[in-house]
């Protein structure tokens, strides 16, 4: 087709501009690549323990990873074993005895279901993780621990929410001198 000189020039001009106006994705790609690597590195540890909304775990600098064990959750109102309610806090605190009956029944049942103990378990007892709210009193904690111990769940650990450890300058404080009584003679 015969075109005028002007039409030709304009077509050429449009072509040139059109090729330059592609979407530039390079910086977006950069961000995504960095983000993907960052997230991949951060998501290497899988969350074993599911935290409950009702429980505000105490804060600690502990770094030990939780094992997949039986979990006793202690919220402000109830005691739950693997998500199933076994006792009410109010009743437990009123009761005189050191054991918690509902919890003991449930733990015994689970111990039966789990079957024979391995050699390591016989030595250390069955493993259990206690997830308690930060505000529960020691009195309650003691009853739970006593119940666990009496049902042979002796390998207890406390679930805590990890916070960054602050590096304290403990060396600066004045050194206490000779704290120990003089009469300590080796391992007596």
């Amino acid at each position: 087709m015969k075109q005028s000189l002007r039409a030709k020039r304009m077509a050429k001009h449009h072509k040139r501009l059109g090729s330059g106006s592609k979407l530039n994705l390079v910086s977006l790609m950069d961000i995504f690549t960095i983000l993907v690597f960052f997230l991949l590195i951060n998501s290497d540890d899988v969350e074993v323990l599911q935290n409950n909304e009702a429980i505000d775990l105490p804060k600690s600098v502990a770094e030990q990873k939780p094992d997949n064990t039986l979990t006793i959750m202690v919220s402000a109102s109830d005691i739950l074993v693997n998500g199933q309610q076994v006792a009410r806090i109010a009743d437990v605190l009123q009761a005189e005895e050191t054991d918690i009956k509902g919890l003991a029944v449930e733990l015994n049942y689970r111990a039966q279901r789990a079957g024979e103990l391995t050699e390591l378990q016989q030595q250390k007892g069955r493993a259990v993780t206690i997830m308690g709210d930060a505000t529960i009193p020691y009195q309650l904690l003691k009853k739970i621990m006593a119940t666990c111990a009496s049902t042979d769940y002796r390998d207890m650990s406390f679930a805590v929410s990890q916070i960054a450890a602050k590096t304290d300058d403990t060396g600066v404080t004045t050194e206490p001198v000779d704290l120990l009584p003089q009469n300590i003679d080796g391992e007596g």
Binding site: L25, M29, K59, K142, M156, V160, D168, L180
Partner: protein
């Protein structure tokens, strides 16, 4: 000929559409699975024969930390007070008093060192609490007695103090315990 040269002059384009698709899927998936609060555990060592078991003379002496409402006591051997640490004012709010864990750590480090000098390798400790001591206080104390931050050359490392922690009841009658042992 002219057409041929035009083709060469054009920039080569990488087709990154499929890569983009992958990224767009991967980023939200990883973001969702990301854990913002890490849950860790603190191990507990039970006293061998339950709390309040009779201590024989040939048993190793027990190091105790007593958590009271307004002070912390370090006892060694059990029942004999080495040091009482009073509460200190909080840095954020001077009206509230907090347990002085930093000082507790300093004294325990010193006890660990002095025991080592006497040839005693002690790793166990007993944390004694009142019935109404709250869980956070117990955990914080356990943190303190377990280890401390030491600086080795340029690295900050966890130095061991007494990692085998047992829990127990604090003695009720505090008044008639022996007076503070002074050097």
């Amino acid at each position: 000929m002219f057409q041929f040269r035009r083709k060469h002059a054009q920039e080569a384009e990488l087709d990154i559409t499929s890569f983009m698709n992958l990224m767009i899927i991967l980023v939200p998936v990883l973001l969702m699975s990301m854990v913002f609060s890490h849950i860790t555990v603190l191990d507990l060592t039970l006293p061998d024969a339950g709390p309040g078991a009779a201590e024989d003379d040939d048993q190793p002496k027990i190091l105790e930390v007593v958590l009271a409402d307004d002070y912390l006591d370090i006892n060694y051997p059990a029942g004999i007070r080495v040091k009482r640490i009073d509460k200190i004012a909080s840095e954020d709010d001077p009206a509230t008093l907090l347990h002085d864990y930093a000082t507790l750590s300093v004294y325990l480090q010193e006890i660990k060192r002095q025991l080592k000098e006497k040839g005693i390798e002690k790793r166990d400790i007993l944390v004694l609490s009142q019935p109404d001591t709250d869980y956070q206080t117990i955990i914080s104390t356990m943190d303190t007695v377990r280890s401390y931050k030491a600086v080795v050359v340029t690295d900050v490392v966890d130095a061991e103090l007494f990692p085998l922690i047992s829990l127990g009841d604090a003695p009720v009658a505090e008044a008639d315990t022996p007076a503070e042992v002074t050097p």
